[in-house]
Assembly symmetry: C2
Homo-oligomer: 237 residues x 2
């Protein structure tokens, strides 16, 4: 944990003894009363926390002095064909770590239908993974997460800034190669298919919606690896 | 498995019934006698395999027709401060997936000493992770893996092509930002520190050895994420 993150409603309340953040402060960082630590409020400011008191029940009272703005977001929206549940967690963590603005999980024709049934999205697992990634980056903001049943539904919703650069990762039938495409002022939308890529129909849908198909190279990358590589390239514009 | 990979010594021998590749061919891909599949020999050619016969003991006899060269390697050598064992596996898999030429695991001053004691390097786990990444990319070549006790030892060994572009990832005290730096003809060496980054002494060592310190941005990325991002940027030069 590079930052001890509090929910808004927790501010002013003591951290319970067994709370992972309390354990991290006392057992991993070896902090004690009077010590400072990096802190932030989810969705809000960042700054310093201070351990004021350890209560007799082991809970910790802290004070917060938060004057720093959250880190700037990358103006990048990533849509990705539903990966297998174990990958969704890592994907969300990595994308929150890199600071993308939004993540859309999209059902695709060649994607495994059963992957969409993951409980991660309803049991708090997704949020936990996003928080883990944000905390790694010392950030307090999370990407906005949404789910669409199909590429068509996503394209119809057009959940992006108008004028955004629209890119679909496609190393089977690319029209060019990925490279630094973004600028600091222009939003980028990147669509990454499922493991088996895009269907021909989806390629047509993407093309009609104004997406350019670009290759990340000759190698079939794992979904999470392709997403990290694509965001890294788009972010360095 | 995007490719069924054989060791040289296995060619001509039947695949045992419970071999994961046999299980994958018959149960996942639903292949049967006469069917073709993507195949390759570790360190050698790629092409097609054919199931010739399923023996009474369940083992599979295959023939191989391998005429394709392995995929070209990225002229990238990645040195990374020993990550925790669970991360080493993913790092090796991802780097083999992306096709880097070599991976050096290096002890660093701020890295956790105990991470170096991983058994992955001696129990076959590292090789298995490299193979998993190569197979994902339909490749037959693995990055060369080496271990160095310290950054100093690695810098003294200079295990890179002369004339290579030398980069150290450093978002604490960078001299510039990462961007597309490689060219198809110039080798790149990228050094990524441990989770806590470089010590001042290591920064000096890197500078003396000709490394430029470049930032991947304001966010502290996880080690594997930083490696994938850095390789993606260097590979697209």
């Amino acid at each position: 944990m590079n930052l001890i993150l509090f929910e808004e409603y927790e501010c002013g309340l003591p951290l319970p003894k067994r709370d992972p953040r309390a354990v991290h402060l006392l057992k991993v960082l070896h902090k004690t009363v009077g010590d400072y630590f990096d802190a932030g409020v989810l969705g809000g400011q960042r700054g310093l926390g201070r351990i004021e008191r350890v209560n007799s029940d082991g809970s910790i009272e802290v004070s917060l002095d938060l004057r720093e703005e959250p880190l700037p977001r990358l103006l990048i929206r990533l849509a990705v064909g539903f990966p297998r549940p174990i990958q969704v967690r890592r994907l969300l963590r990595d994308m929150a770590n890199m600071g993308v603005e939004a993540i859309d999980l999209v059902g695709t024709e060649l994607g495994e239908k059963s992957y969409r049934d993951t409980t991660l999205l309803t049991d708090g697992g997704a949020r936990e993974a996003l928080i883990e990634g944000a905390v790694q980056a010392r950030d307090t903001l999370l990407p906005v997460l949404a789910v669409y049943p199909s590429l068509g539904a996503w394209l119809a919703a057009r959940p992006w800034h108008s004028g955004a650069l629209l890119i679909a990762a496609d190393n089977v039938r690319p029209a060019g190669i990925f490279s630094r495409l973004a600028s600091e002022t222009r939003a980028v939308v990147i669509a990454v298919g499922s493991e088996r890529g895009w269907s021909e129909q989806e390629r047509e849908q993407l093309e009609s919606a104004g997406f350019t198909r670009l290759s990340l190279g000759k190698r079939a990358l794992r979904t999470e690896t392709a997403c990290v590589a694509a965001v890294a390239l788009a972010a360095q514009g």
